[in-house]
Symmetry: C2
Subunit: 312 residues, 2 copies
């Protein structure tokens, strides 16, 4: 049993035509859209992360999702499960990590629940209003494929933290750990491009870039052709100097809270302008064609659909 | 540290005048109200409960809360954390427990999350529309105090399941286990009396009846005087025959998903009529006076505020 099979069971039991369970947020006809995401310590928290960063990450993952789908987060609910023995200071630090980020985006806490469990879990609900819906499957042939941010860094950071693989370049090490411990989704840019109608499909990349691209290609019924690495030349060079494959690191290695999106060619200049306005890094990594699957064009290599999927 | 102290920290960090965190549901100005509740296996699931009943209970506890506050549940979100090794049949049974109850009340699943953790947790969000707000603290002097259902049964059942204390009367045993394993909150009655404006304050009793009454008395700034046991004569007699104190069992022993509510005397007959219509058991257990605290009048005994509160 894996996570995707369980989601399939849930869909078979609960899904109706009016309320599909195939996308990242639930857009309701009343103009509100909803998202829930649970962070679990034993699976989602790398070694050395502070309590502040744990709390922050619980909100980051939902913020990334809703902003990628053009939903302006207004309200939050929090259910926390805490282990016996947790200290008051740890709880306060964790809550401050959530609070600081919620204040920055004007999100109001309206409810929650406190429980005791044999694991730490934070289940975070966000909802708010939307102007435009954007689905995983809306890409058209000829659309350009864009990502925000730099990929590959978190793979390097996680290999260091989880497997102890050293990072010789100290600048790369600093960047990689920053991206692992304090991910910073480009919330305002994401919202702006969706609300401005510049995006035909979008998805947050936190299940892994390869998984995300394949999911979007599948749901669009089209082929995603990747031509460029989703990272700057400088980072490609740093990662290669560590004896690593930047493409593998970008596609399969990390947990980035970035937006993957498709743009009609005539809207590309507007997207570039928005990125400058919001000081957001973006990379054009390819384009959409007829066909199926995700391919890296330079070597005609198939990018397999693998990602962060729990097994049970 | 206990649960109430943690909730106090959360209130200090997040609460605003417009969005108080003191009640059971969040009533938003847009006419929707929200509630989230997490069920955790290691703390909330008694021995011998089936997977179907576990899933069912996750929804029961939120249904009880929202209906007690006059919120008609329309939409649901579910985050589940599952332990490694869980079987497909167990997951399906658990989901069926949720589904059967959600279908009965026309609740639609719109989103969720699946995770792996070192404990089983089901976080269930319900929301829907409301006509009238009803708070914990709305009671007036002279109001009558009512409860739905029979109290005391779940204390007997839990003592049997958790501490192995035998129940000699087989009819009592059957009733007690039924109330523990398949609690049945009187959803339609609860909604009807609130929507009909018959209730001045209300709260679900699942934190324990003594806790609930004290909380309502405190928030109303009044005294709750208890004159009658919250159970039928037949059940009092059965519990006494087991050598137990029915009042203690009712106040501190169990986990009932019932509604505790106050009614102006001139509306009592209407409440009784609604109870008959919905085939719902209700008991008038006392009335509200000037003063503080909760007292059992017959013996002028103070009912202390203790209940189901987690310590960490």
């Amino acid at each position: 049993m894996n996570e995707l099979q369980i989601i399939e069971i849930i869909r078979q039991l609960f899904e109706t035509e009016d309320y599909p369970l195939t996308d990242d947020v639930a857009y309701l006809p009343n103009g509100l859209a909803f998202k829930v995401d649970m962070l679990v310590k034993s699976t989602d928290i790398p070694k050395g992360m502070s309590w502040y960063q744990v709390g922050r990450k619980a909100l980051v993952s939902v913020l990334s999702d809703v902003s990628t789908k053009g939903v302006r987060p207004e309200f939050m609910m929090l259910s926390v499960a805490l282990r016996k023995g947790i200290k008051e200071e740890q709880i306060k630090d964790m809550l401050m990590g959530i609070k600081d980020l919620s204040v920055r985006y004007g999100i109001k806490l309206i409810g929650g629940d406190v429980n005791r469990a044999n694991d730490l879990a934070i289940d975070c609900v966000l909802f708010g209003s939307y102007k435009n819906k954007v689905l995983r499957g809306g890409a058209k042939p000829g659309d350009l494929i864009y990502v925000t941010g730099e990929f590959g860094l978190t793979a390097v950071g996680l290999d260091y933290l989880v497997k102890g693989r050293e990072i010789r370049n100290s600048r790369l090490k600093g960047l990689a750990l920053k991206w692992v411990y304090e991910p910073e989704p480009p919330v305002e840019f994401n919202l702006d491009v969706v609300e401005s109608g510049l995006v035909t499909s979008s998805m947050d990349s936190s299940d892994g870039l390869a998984f995300t691209l394949n999911e979007m290609a599948e749901q669009s019924g089209l082929r995603f052709l990747i031509e460029n690495y989703p990272m700057s030349e400088e980072i490609i060079k740093m990662i290669e100097e560590e004896g690593r494959d930047p493409l593998l690191d970008a596609m399969y290695g990390g947990e980035e809270y970035q937006m993957v999106f498709t743009v009609p060619p005539e809207k590309e200049q507007e997207v570039i302008k928005k990125a400058k306005e919001h000081d957001t890094i973006i990379h054009r990594i390819g384009h959409v064609t007829q066909g199926k699957g995700v391919y890296f064009a330079r070597e005609s290599k198939k990018i397999e659909k693998r990602g962060w999927v729990f097994t049970f």
